[in-house]
Amino acid sequence: MSAPTTTRPSKRPTPRPNPGGLGTGARMLLSSRYASVLVTLLLLVATFAVGSVRYRGFLSGQVVLNLFIDNAFLIVLAVGMTFVILTGGIDLSVGSVVALSTMIAASLLQSGWSPPAVILTVLVVGTTLGFLVGLVIFYFDVQPFIATLAAMFLARGLCYVISTSSISIVDPFFVDMANARIPLAPGLRISPSVVVALAVVAIAFAVLHYTRTGRTVYAIGNGGQSAMLMGLPVKRTKILVYAISGLCSAIAGVLFTFYTLSGYSLTAVGMELDAIAAVVIGGTLLTGGSGFVLGSVLGVLVLGVIQTIISFEGTLSSWWTRIVIGSLLLVFILLQRALTPRRR
């Protein structure tokens, strides 16, 4: 792990006058750590352009805003996943935690709890679950995917324990949140969920780039041993990222209940794959240490555009979404290998 990090500075050419005039700017962009995010941005623009050319009514502000409305929960989920993947880990439990959150929310509302208490309970449960997973991973040296796989099992099982059938939500606050739209401009509206999601993104961005915790997250991904030797709080941070992912899954679960107005134990099956795909497409290295929250948001939007194109197409069935996401995942993973040939 540490070897590639030490060889890297020597690989990067020292800036010198560029006689070719290709532009140091372009070269810097290609070689910089923003390259993969730029690729994602280009992909987003390209897929959107394809949609706009093919379908009338695709190129409109509301279609763009709908991307945010329909994927608010996925954005929050991807933010949490970004933290985990930046440290070189993975969290497979997020989809089940979303389902568990919807179940807890729906069943508590059914038994007459007030909405703030319900939301608070959901957030506490999600964070606690993530925290416990973090403890297991750190104290018992269990591989992250095994620990989170077990958590995935557990959360899904708890859903079944609560109820096997779908519980619908009739609470006025939740219904209001589902139907409310905040007007931005004539004909352009967003839902409260989008505001929540963007707030989560902003907080995550600030934490990752302007706090010690954020720098420690990147340091762990670049080599836990060296981070430890530097005296960074590796232990605390490693546990923290799983708690953050749990919290984000719970927030996503609440947003998802706003979106579907029901709790169902079989909901969000495979959502962890969407979240991982969004993070990978957003340019975060699966080995950790490199990536951006904003990239993950772009990744979610790419997935959203693909889904929109498939729904605009009409004749194409929804299962194409999965195949396209799988292919994109493949392309981006191969791209990662190509961009970082030395990392193993």
Binding site: F140, A150, G157, L273, A277, I323, R337
Partner: protein
């Protein structure tokens, strides 16, 4: 102690010490806990319904709860068999559930699309075609992992994501139901009074056991899992081995998929093989194969798979709500993983050495190997 003058004693004593060391080895073996769990589950069942163990013959076929457990456990055994070899190379295959769905869907779509679904030739052709398809899918996983060097969990995640989509594409989003007598045999028929699925699973299991334990193959797989770089330097073609285990895992999953779809005479792209990867990983882990790769135990996997199947049966038979099965399984996985964790094992070792340093550690290590 045993003087040669006393022939009776001389005969008895080595025998006694041999049985003693056998018990000793058994207690130290990794297989003992899963075996105890299996026996405990069976005993629970017998207590609950005394004729649990009885097997009767009806129309020349064997019937009984034990036979049911064996038959329903066959797909898990197969998937876990492939998974064991994958995990032994320090990998993981998350795509088996998707492959299960694809193979069932592919075979049934061929049989359903033919003029005569009851023809033996059509069924054999469909089975062969879906096995070849699985071979391609496994080779795809192997290619990504062995050639492109992508982490196994990520590489197989791709097929896990896209695979159910492919299965949906094959079934066109429907649940395919096809009645075909020859196809029904694979998952629901009988050969020599036994369910055919048991015989298929047992044959494949025996084949793998012989191939890996009677040739150097098993050792090569373990060496790749313990240290891929060192085994490559020692002349083991790690890439070929890794490529092979993923291909084999997909084929095992495909056979399991054929069994499942044949048993219910339907291919459901959404729910066929759902979470079977979890069951398979659980079986392997219960069987004492470490997720860190290296040494593996096929017998352990077999016991592990039957522990899971018996658990599922027990939950039904003793009247626990089936919804709790998943929570229970999760708690079992967590417990096993925590017990297997290096930190816990080190803690136990420290406890033991504090109690009495008289036990040398070398023999214990040896006992754990198999």
């Amino acid at each position: 102690m045993n003087t040669p003058q006393d022939p009776k004693n001389a005969l008895a004593s080595p025998l006694a010490s041999r049985t003693g060391s056998l018990v000793h080895a058994a207690v130290r073996s990794r297989l003992v806990w899963p075996a105890v769990a299996l026996i405990a589950l069976l005993v629970t069942n017998v207590v609950k319904s005394p004729n649990f163990l009885s097997i009767r013959i009806q129309d020349g076929h064997l019937f009984g709860s034990l036979i049911d457990i064996l038959r329903n456990g066959a797909p898990i055994v197969l998937v876990a068999l492939g998974m064991t070899l994958v995990i032994a190379t320090r990998g993981i295959d998350l795509s088996v559930g998707a492959v299960v769905a694809i193979s069932g869907a592919f075979a049934l779509s061929i049989i359903g699309g033919s003029d005569n679904p009851n023809s033996m030739g059509v069924v054999l052709g469909a089975v062969a075609a879906s096995l070849v398809f699985a071979l391609v899918l496994g080779a795809w996983n192997g290619l990504l992992i062995a050639v492109f060097g992508i982490q196994p969990i990520i590489a197989t995640l791709i097929l896990m994501t896209a695979g159910r989509g492919i299965a949906m594409l094959i079934t066109e989003g429907q649940i395919l139901t096809v009645s075909s007598a020859p196809y029904k045999v694979i998952g629901g028929g009988y050969w020599f009074a036994l369910p055919a699925s048991i015989i298929i699973a047992a044959a494949l299991f025996a084949l793998v056991a012989i191939l890996t334990r009677k040739t150097a193959l098993g050792m090569l797989i373990e060496s790749v899992g313990i240290n891929p770089e060192a085994s490559r330097l020692a002349g083991v073609s790690s890439r070929v081995i890794i490529f092979m285990v993923y291909t084999f895992s997909a084929v095992c999953a495909a056979i399991a998929g054929l069994m499942i779809s044949s048993n219910i005479t339907a291919a459901d792209a959404n729910s066929a093989g759902l979470w079977i990867e979890m069951d398979a990983i659980l079986a392997v882990v219960l069987g004492g194969t470490s997720l860190a790769g290296g040494r593996y135990s096929l017998t352990g996997t077999l016991i592990g798979a039957f522990v899971i199947q018996t658990l599922t049966t027990t939950v039904y038979s003793i009247g626990i709500a089936p919804e709790i099965t998943l929570v229970f399984k999760a708690l079992v996985v967590i417990a096993v993983v925590l017990l297997q964790a290096p930190r816990t094992r080190a803690g136990f070792a420290r406890l033991r050495s504090r109690k009495g340093p008289s036990v040398p550690s070398a023999p214990r290590e040896k006992a754990i190997v198999r």
